[in-house]
């Protein structure tokens, strides 16, 4: 009797399966075609949005070196441009590169066409529509201001829908595969899909006020924890796992040899995904986050070096004995530098997560340098390797110019070095100046502008690095355009493989059980099957329990079980709320932190360190991650004078010569949106947030806001005679913003309200 197991699926340890050549594959060969069109479309989107995203990055770099480049316009000011840059390069450039690489490699690894052409189309156009929506809303100031999650709730929902379509397409392809073994790259893709789905949904939980505004359900410390759980794992599951999967596919292909150790790749995968999810709190060291949570983050960050370097070593050793090919192949050049950058960035990440180093590096340009060594080196260069590898294969024609590709490699490599080294130097300069004490034990550099002047040269050098990198991708576009000129895409690439025969008892049993026509008998048979597999049963039960546990805990959170409370901390007044929303809209959090860390240099400069209970009404939290300007957590204590803020917003350099802050002339002329205040307060007072705004206060919100605005307008007129004749002052956005700035950090010193 013939063994029904097909040749390519036999188990190596099965003695009956040997010797190999005697086995005959009886499965009929199936003919099908790989979908190359979707791959090509994602590649073009990668290049298009790469150029756009990097050009916007160059603009942002120029603005920090030369503030006139903010053009005094709302849509082009740094606070709105920076999130446009980060979203464009992460989700548009890197995102499209990931999809191109996954659509190419998954089909070939599964020996199957993508599950649904319709879903592929939907995924492609859906994702591009989201990018366009981001490119429109972010410059308009429609933002949640949570880093790498700035997009407002309707776009968040669209992201979830498109992501689920992508997931169905991928899992459908895996289900229809003609290759039993799931190559390690596929595991990395699965982790990407599951991880991002969970992170995105949890971090985007918000209560909508209108189509363009929402408040997150979490506040203060909790929002910070959720955000950096998301932020760190966006790096893990968007910029690391998919790219590692792509490395495990494209590196062996380009080197024409198997990965150095397949076993190591499996260990790499499982250890990486078990460790990454816990490391987020290292973004909040020395902050108001409980210390134990900080320590967990540090411990896991230190452990992460093992899988990260395991993967890097596995990648580099794949080229063992083939390093001569790096000399001639641009694809391998890009891959080798990408993997090296991955190793360097992960080493640096672990080091920066140590408390002592983080104290100095956090909020400085060192972090900016760190992310760019990962983004430009690891993600960017891997994306370029994919482009140079796939384009000739999609069009069946060799690359137009290897010399031009090599030129791209060298220009971009020098660009990365110039960028990263200048940011290291800027970051160390900033950190050491913030922490410097003089002989009297006082801060050596009290004036913030001294620090800005010191790093200004580095900002120009960084700009040069960015321009070089942008120049590189332009060369890449030229090369690709010349390669495909006049060539036709091999849209449906013919392929063949034998069908996959079921080879496990479980599948047979399930199939038999499913074939029972009677519904009740079928259910009993399936239930018996589940019961017979104790491990599976245990796991399913555990998952069920955990879901139950989570559902039990979330209502607690929802009912406002926010602790610890400080009695003197009260909700924002309607005008302060309006001002805070302006602060969010303008992206102030891109340059100003609101978190005085538990370090002497910070309490000396800014006052009392930030308490967890101070942020319970902060939706979203605005701790920030970068101090191009000073911390504002106690701005209301340090700088209560209304006229100072007015003149500073009108022209920062008139008040603080040498400042690189954009001017905000539109705040002086645009009217505050008082009308929507009751809606905003209702959203904050309703389920599940329950901010204590009683209904009468909501009803009288506009009146309350206008009378506070009149009071501040009065301050302005008396403090600055040039404003004495301004009658409409109270209606302007600047007054609402001043109300918020005057409030910042003042609660702690207030007496506890009566009756508390």
């Amino acid at each position: 009797m013939m063994n029904p197991t097909p040749l390519r699926n036999h188990r190596m340890h099965d003695p009956q399966a040997l010797p190999l050549p005697l086995k005959i594959d009886h499965s009929p060969v199936q003919h099908f075609a790989y979908d190359n069109r979707t791959v090509r479309d994602f590649l073009w989107a990668t290049l298009l949005f790469g150029v756009v995203g990097m050009a916007v990055g160059v603009l942002a770099a120029l603005q920090l070196a030369w503030p006139a480049a903010n053009f005094n316009l709302p849509w082009t000011s740094y606070g709105r441009i920076r999130p446009l840059h980060t979203n464009a390069v992460i989700f548009a450039f890197a995102g499209n590169a990931i999809f191109a690489g996954i659509y190419w490699s998954l089909q070939r690894l599964c020996k199957a066409r993508m599950y649904s052409d319709w879903l592929s189309r939907f995924h492609f156009w859906g994702w591009q529509a989201i990018i366009v929506a981001a490119a429109i809303t972010l410059p308009l100031g429609i933002t949640t201001s949570k880093e790498y999650a700035e997009l407002e709730w309707p776009i968040d929902i669209a992201i979830a829908v498109v992501w689920i379509a992508f997931a169905i397409n991928v899992f459908g392809t895996i289900a229809r595969r003609r290759e039993r073994h799931l190559y390690v790259a596929i595991w990395f893709y699965i982790a990407t899909i599951v991880g991002i789905a969970m992170l995105h949904i949890v971090n985007s939980l918000a209560v909508p006020v209108s189509w363009t505004k929402s408040y997150p359900v979490f506040a203060g410390v909790q929002d910070a924890l959720v955000q950096w759980w998301y932020g760190h794992n966006a790096v893990a599951f968007f910029l690391t796992t998919p790219f590692l999967g792509l490395m495990y596919y494209f590196l062996p292909k380009a080197a024409e040899r198997p990965v150095y150790s397949y076993r190591l790749s499996i260990i790499h995968f499982w250890s990486l995904i078990f460790l990454y999810i816990w490391a987020g709190p290292h973004h909040l060291l020395h902050s108001a986050l409980p210390e134990w949570a900080q320590t967990v983050g540090v411990a896991f960050s230190v452990m992460l070096i093992a899988p990260s370097w395991g993967g890097m070593i596995n990648g580099l050793l794949t080229l063992r004995g083939a390093f001569d090919k790096v000399r001639t192949s641009p694809v391998l050049k890009f891959l080798v530098l990408a993997i090296t950058a991955y190793g360097m960035a992960t080493f640096e990440g672990t080091m920066l997560s140590l408390r002592s180093i983080n104290a100095m590096s956090h909020n400085t340009d060192w972090t900016v340098g760190h992310v760019h060594s990962g983004a430009l080196g690891w993600n960017g260069f891997l994306a370029f390797a994919l482009v140079y590898w796939m384009v000739p294969r999609l069009y069946r024609r060799s690359l137009w110019s290897t010399a031009l590709a090599n030129a791209h490699f060298w220009i971009a490599t020098v660009g990365i070095l110039v960028y990263v080294v200048s940011m290291w130097m800027a970051g160390i300069t900033e950190g050491s100046m913030w922490f410097a004490f003089n002989d009297q034990g006082r801060l050596q550099y009290r004036d913030w502008i001294e620090m800005i002047r010191a790093v200004q040269p580095f900002y120009w050098v960084r700009l040069a690095g960015g321009v070089l990198y942008l120049g590189g991708i332009v060369l890449c576009c030229v090369n690709v355009a010349m390669t495909v000129r006049g060539a036709t895409l091999l849209a449906d690439e013919p392929a063949e493989a034998p069908a996959l025969a079921p080879d496990t008892d479980h599948e047979d049993q399930i199939a038999t059980a499913l074939a029972i026509p009677d519904r009740r008998q079928r259910g009993t048979a399936l239930h018996r099957l589940v019961e017979r597999w104790p491990t599976l049963l245990t796991i399913l039960a555990t998952i069920a329990l955990l879901i139950g546990g989570a559902l039990e805990i979330i209502p607690n959170l929802i009912q406002g079980a926010l602790s610890p409370r400080i009695a003197s901390v009260q909700p924002y007044t309607p005008l302060e709320l309006a001002g805070r929303d302006i602060y969010i809209r303008e992206g102030c959090v891109g340059c100003h932190t609101q978190m005085i860390r538990t370090l002497r240099a910070e309490t000396e400069r800014y006052g009392e360190y930030t308490r967890p209970g101070e942020g319970i009404y902060d939706r979203p939290f605005l701790w920030g991650s970068k101090r191009t300007g000073p911390d504002l957590a106690r701005e209301g204590v340090i700088r209560p004078m209304a006229a100072w803020h007015y003149q500073h917003m009108a022209d920062p350099r008139a008040v603080a010569p040498g400042s690189v802050m954009p001017a905000y002339p539109w705040l002086l002329t645009d009217d505050t949106d008082f009308a929507s205040l009751p809606d905003r307060m209702r959203a904050l007072a309703g389920m599940p947030i329950y901010t204590p705004y009683p209904p009468p206060r909501i009803a009288g919100a506009v009146q309350e806001a206008k009378s506070q605005a009149e009071a501040i307008a009065g301050q302005l007129r008396s403090q600055d005679l040039r404003l004495a004749g301004e009658t409409k002052l109270a209606d302007k956005e600047i007054v609402a913003l001043i109300a918020y700035l005057q409030r910042l950090g003042t609660d702690l010193g207030k007496p506890t309200p009566a009756g508390k």
């Binding site: 190559y183 397949y262 499982w270 546990g549 989570a550 959170l557």
Partner: protein, 56 residues
């Protein structure tokens, strides 16, 4: 503290999912052979001839 509990629960849920996937992979023989997959992925067989027209 509710958030920490929620996130610990979510983290454990993810952990459980990973364990489930790990156990599935081991039990279904994904790693019975750790030598040939890395070589087989290098081979993309080109079809010998154009697909035959469908016939009964």
């Amino acid at each position: 503290m509710a958030t920490f509990a929620t996130f610990t629960a979510l983290g454990l849920l993810l952990f459980a999912l990973c364990v489930a996937a790990l156990v599935w992979a081991a039990r279904s023989g994904q790693w019975d052979d750790l030598d040939t997959p890395s070589v087989r992925m290098l081979v993309d067989d080109e079809p010998d001839a154009p697909p035959e027209p469908p016939h009964a």
